[in-house]
């Protein structure tokens, strides 16, 4: 199967599903994302997503069930189970309006924090697989290794080596009951119905049980690396606490809990940045250097746990 054929048929499926929902469709399809590991196509108010080739059908179905049964937290799928298209699992979703990538300063930090707090407080269904955050970090580091030698690779790998096994997907996580999103960033929030509906979390591919601090750790890492202004981080953390989120203590220093996941996500971000820069044959930019520099400092102060 070629990627073109998948995209063609995915576009056709999105159109058919959209037309089934609304026969008077004004038409006009758009590819939202076309990456080797996943393709997302929009047709009017319908989005079709082809999941990465190695996606497990049973696991994805149980993740879809969570999305379908918590409509105030997660965007609910249009179809409760994935369908097979050229050997790829495909899911269908209503379109939601994303955070404007040109205006990240308008990021809904409070809404994101409140949604996470609610997700973390929701009892997980039995048989929900583990949250895949540590596995994704491990994959990013594996790709860094495959990319060959690079001057910035050594500090990233050293920082990775100081992390406890659970954060490197080498052992079960210390929490196996809390429901987590697993891959929070600003692309994982949409307003549904668009454009003025409430904010919801999307993308259940990494959702599962695990250490809930992982979901706070990306903004925490950005803040620690000097990228996210302290006020934005403060708003996010305060809103999470206000909503009764269980990942961090209700007051006092949250870093004893955030430290390991924030280190892991800094390593993941740095590994991806180095691979990307090496593939493009360009030097690291200022932002990419700041995450690699943070990895360099980590080795001098290893985590406590």
């Amino acid at each position: 199967m070629t990627a073109t054929l998948l995209l063609q048929d995915l576009t056709a499926r999105a159109r058919a599903t959209a037309h089934a929902r609304s026969p008077a469709c004004p038409c006009g399809a758009a590819t939202l994302a076309d990456r080797p590991d996943g393709t997302v196509v929009r047709h009017a108010d319908t989005v079709a997503k082809a999941h990465p080739p190695d996606t497990d059908s049973t696991e994805l179905t149980s993740r879809l069930t969570v999305a379908a049964s918590h409509p105030g937290i997660l965007l609910a799928p249009l179809v409760p189970t994935p369908v097979d298209l050229h050997g790829r699992l495909v899911t269908f979703w209503p379109y939601g309006a994303p955070v404007d990538p040109e205006a990240p300063d308008a990021a809904p930090w409070e809404a994101a924090a409140a949604l996470l707090a609610r997700l973390h407080r929701t009892p997980a269904p039995r048989a929900l697989p583990a949250m895949r955050g540590p596995a994704k970090a491990a994959r990013a580091v594996a790709r860094l290794r495959e990319a060959g030698p690079h001057p910035a690779a050594a500090p990233v790998r050293r920082a990775w080596g100081t992390l406890p096994a659970w954060a490197r997907a080498g052992a079960p996580m210390p929490d196996t009951t809390t429901m987590c999103h697993g891959d929070l960033h600003l692309g994982q929030l949409v307003r549904h119905p668009a454009p003025e509906g409430p904010w919801l979390l999307i993308d259940v591919d990494d959702l599962g049980v695990g250490v809930p601090a992982w979901d706070l750790a990306r903004p925490a890492a950005w803040y620690a690396c000097g990228l996210l202004p302290p006020d934005d981080w403060g708003r996010f953390l305060a809103a999470y606490r206000e909503a009764g989120g269980p990942a961090v203590p209700a007051d006092g220093d949250p870093w004893p809990v955030l430290d390991v996941p924030a280190r892991a996500l800094t390593v993941q971000t740095a590994a991806r940045a180095v691979v990307k820069a090496a593939a493009a044959g360009r030097p690291l930019d200022e932002v990419e250097r700041s995450v690699v520099d943070a990895c360099d400092r980590m080795a001098a102060v290893p985590p406590h746990s």
């Binding site: 990538p101 300063d105 690396c225 990228l227 403060g234 870093w255 200022e286 943070a294």
Partner: protein, 93 residues
């Protein structure tokens, strides 16, 4: 030396000839005997004839940061202008 509050290593800086130790973890500041007086003296010289200075920034920031964090307490060197590359990072895995 180690920070008495959070036990992260402290680094020495020179401010107008006054040695101060700042913690790499909580950003707290340690002053040796007589150094506070030296700073006060310097401040008085600086503000003579000038309008009253704005309130001093907090020695302990409102938001703690880890010991491996960026120097200068998570403020970043990017100011209010958000770097394009960071804008992209905010939206990717």
């Amino acid at each position: 030396m180690q920070c008495p509050k959070c036990h992260a290593p402290m680094h020495t800086y020179n401010r107008n000839g006054v040695q101060i130790e700042q913690c790499s973890g909580c950003r707290g500041i340690f002053l040796d005997y007589g150094e506070l007086e030296s700073l006060t003296r310097l401040e008085a010289q600086w503000s003579q004839g000038a309008p009253p200075p704005p309130p001093a920034p907090q020695a302990y920031p409102a938001h703690p940061a880890p010991a491996w964090g960026a120097p200068h307490g998570g403020h970043g060197h990017h100011g209010h202008h958000r770097h394009k590359s960071f804008g992209h990072m905010l939206f990717s895995s």
